[in-house]
């Protein structure tokens, strides 16, 4: 069994699950379409890389700082969303990819074009984590992300976000502080993406400015769209499918990108709610099946 390979693919899938679930808060709930999620991902990766390599912090000591930094950056980069809306916001978030990448490349503090290498594996009671240990760590964060996201989806915050996501004016009229919740959405989303970035950096061991380009942002959004926007199960499933698919498709590796581009277009055209979003054919089918079973049971009852 190529267990290390499976664990590696699993680790990256987990990292992308965190990214997709976090994008879901911003794009699924608050309907702020972001094509710049890789920028937050990059900031998390670089923050952790610099704190551990340049300042000698451990992964664990750096992690709260990383979360703090990415939350702050999320708030700051979320500010344009208060002024601009819809398509303008999409374009601003596209711009974020280019700007963040350029800053990392330009300033030698961030390692410039030589990147930052020698990022250590996280230690656990004095022992660096192995492949399996790191997979466990990633899994832990995936579960944490899903749980907190699930908790959040049951709160007033999510309702408020969905309200102004549907109709900003109406939401304002109902007394929802739209600005506050927009910034919340950016902050939460960015913080999770930061964790994903830190995990990525420590697993790969090096970061370069070209690791986190615009195409990554597209990937993350595609995962969310495929799985189903607005649902955690959809976000998780989308990341799972699109991270696994390329591994399975290696047989036809020359056509991989063509296929994933095609899937993206066809999916949103014919199943805009995604594979597992609310009201998708899979979910409907599942519900129908369950309904039939339940009603059979009801008939069987004396």
């Amino acid at each position: 069994m190529p267990i290390g390979y499976i664990l590696t693919v699993g680790t990256f899938t987990g990292i992308f699950m965190i990214l997709t679930v976090s994008l879901n808060v911003l794009t699924g709930y608050a309907k702020q379409v972001s094509l710049g999620h890789a920028a937050f991902f990059a900031i998390g990766a670089y923050a952790s890389a610099i704190l551990t390599v340049k300042f000698g912090l451990s992964f664990w000591a750096a992690l709260p700082c990383v979360v703090g930094i990415t939350t702050l950056v999320g708030v700051f980069l979320g500010l344009p969303s208060l002024r601009v809306s819809h398509d303008f916001l999409v374009l601003s978030t596209i711009g974020l990819n280019f700007i963040v990448g350029s800053v990392f490349r330009y300033f030698s503090f961030f390692g410039g074009s030589m990147g930052i290498v020698g990022i250590p594996m996280p230690e656990f009671f004095g022992h660096p984590l192995g492949t399996a240990g790191f997979f466990g760590l990633t899994l832990l964060f995936v579960i944490l992300t899903i749980l907190t996201s699930f908790y959040f989806s049951r709160t007033w915050g999510r309702l408020a976000m969905e309200a102004f996501g549907e109709d900003e004016v109406a939401a304002k009229a109902m007394g929802i502080n739209v600005a506050k919740f927009k910034i919340y959405a950016f902050a939460i989303s960015s913080a999770y993406a930061g964790i994903a970035g830190a995990l990525w950096a420590h697993y790969v061991g090096s970061v370069f400015p070209d690791n986190f380009g615009f195409d990554r942002s597209i990937d993350i959004l595609a995962m969310l769209v495929l799985g189903g926007m607005g649902t955690i199960r959809g976000a998780v499933f989308g990341a799972l499918v699109l991270q696994m698919l390329p591994e399975g498709l290696r047989v036809i590796q020359n056509y991989r990108m063509l296929v994933s581009g095609g899937i993206l277009a066809l999916m949103i055209l014919f199943q805009p709610m995604g594979l597992l979003g609310r009201g998708s054919f899979l979910v409907k089918g599942f519900e129908r099946l369950r309904g039939r079973l339940v009603s059979h049971e009801a008939e069987d009852m004396p």
């Binding site: 693919v9 990147g115 370069f208 070209d210 696994m244 390329p246 590796q253």
Partner: protein, 381 residues
């Protein structure tokens, strides 16, 4: 539920692609076949395939056939990490070859070293790659050697006094220019202009205008061949007559095709001498043209040589990783490579003459060769 589903998928994935063919010696290769680096990845793949086919046609390695297992890494570090694991664990390759850029190669090198499988980087030159560990080698010429040789060439052979530097802003371009600059300053030349540009840039007229204003007698511009073609043709369009000195990034006939007549007289520091009379060079050049439909480039040649070095070591000592490493370190005057001959491996990188080529009549031709040990051995060794 989702975890279970994920696990199930993982298992299916693992079982579906599991299987080892007995008897063959497997060499693993990762190359960018999709994405922005697809052209280089394709060249590297063709180069490696030619080497494998030639080895097999000659009876394989000690009677065993060589099988090349390759995957597309899209020039991404995480893809390369996963692929490295797959090559090592599932395909059980005895040695890995990188036909990719620095970022993915760096990530994969860590995994090869950790797993105790040797790896040879064809043309990725970030210094941290071979610093990863004692099993990681490089056949491509390092930036220090190339930059230093370029510096000597510019000042001593081409007589430049006023030099302009235009650097591509990635690890390759920046480190080349760093060593070049140190060398020419040490030899008494003056830097009259210096600027970095971002990778993928295709408009250089405004910066070349400024360079013209600084009136240099030589321009050192680091670039890959497409960028190089833009720089050279736009410089000539602006009437800049200064010598343009390039590096192995220019070393593709595509450069001459794209730059057209402007390419005439451009001099490059590289490791491939197309006028070499060694049969392996001419055989490779012909075979590459036949398979890829374009003339061979440096990337393809480097991948070819990486496979050759791997095969040499495997033939000498079998498949034990430590023995392979020792065999590569023990190489002395290996003539059977395109970008060579390799005099030795020092510090896990190939030591070979530095070739200087000039574009004349629409083709690269011999201009000069450096064999001086103080130039061709990287500083610090």
């Amino acid at each position: 539920m989702w975890c279970k589903l994920g696990l199930a998928l993982l298992v299916i994935l693992a079982l579906g692609t599991f299987g080892i063919a007995e008897g063959n010696i497997k060499i693993g290769l990762f190359v960018p076949l999709t994405g922005f680096a697809a052209a280089d990845g394709h060249s590297a793949l063709v180069g490696a395939q030619i080497a494998v086919d030639l080895i097999n046609a000659a009876g394989g390695i000690n009677g065993r056939m060589v099988e090349l297992v390759y995957y597309d890494d899209a020039a991404r570090a995480d893809q390369a990490s996963a692929i490295a694991r797959k090559l090592i664990e599932q395909d059980q390759v005895v040695i890995g070859i990188s036909g990719s850029y620095s970022t993915p190669t760096r990530a994969a090198a860590a995994i090869f070293q950790q797993a105790g499988v040797p790896m040879i980087s064809a043309y990725a030159i970030h210094p941290s790659i071979i610093e990863t560990g004692h099993l990681i080698f490089r056949v491509g010429m390092g930036a220090p050697v190339e930059g230093i040789a370029g510096g000597h060439l510019a000042v001593e052979k081409l007589g430049a006094h006023r030099i302009a530097i235009l650097s591509m802003d990635n690890d390759f371009g920046v480190s080349l220019s760093e060593y070049f600059k140190q060398t020419v300053l040490g030899l008494g030349a003056e830097i009259v202009f210096e600027k970095r540009y971002s990778l993928g840039e295709s408009e250089f007229r405004e910066v070349l205008s400024s360079i013209r204003g600084a009136n240099p007698d030589l321009i050192w511009a680091t670039a890959y061949y497409a960028g190089a073609a833009n720089i050279v043709s736009q410089a000539r369009e602006l009437g800049i007559t200064a010598t343009i000195l390039g590096q192995e990034g220019y070393d593709s006939p595509k450069f001459i095709e794209l730059a057209g007549e402007a390419a005439e007289g451009v001099i490059i520091v590289t490791d491939l001498n197309r006028d070499s009379e060694r049969p392996v060079v001419q055989q490779f050049l012909a075979e590459f043209q036949a398979r890829a439909g374009i003339p061979a480039d440096m990337v393809g040649a480097s991948a070819f040589d990486a496979v050759k070095v791997a095969a040499y070591a495997l033939a000498q000592v079998g498949t034990d990783p430590e023995d392979i490493a020792a065999a590569i370190n023990g190489i002395r005057h290996m003539d059977d490579v395109v970008t060579g001959p390799f005099y030795a491996f020092l510090g896990r990188e190939a030591i070979r003459p530095v070739e200087v080529q000039i574009v004349q009549g629409g083709a690269f031709h011999f201009f000069h060769t450096y064999t001086d040990p103080t130039i061709i051995i990287p500083p610090g060794l």
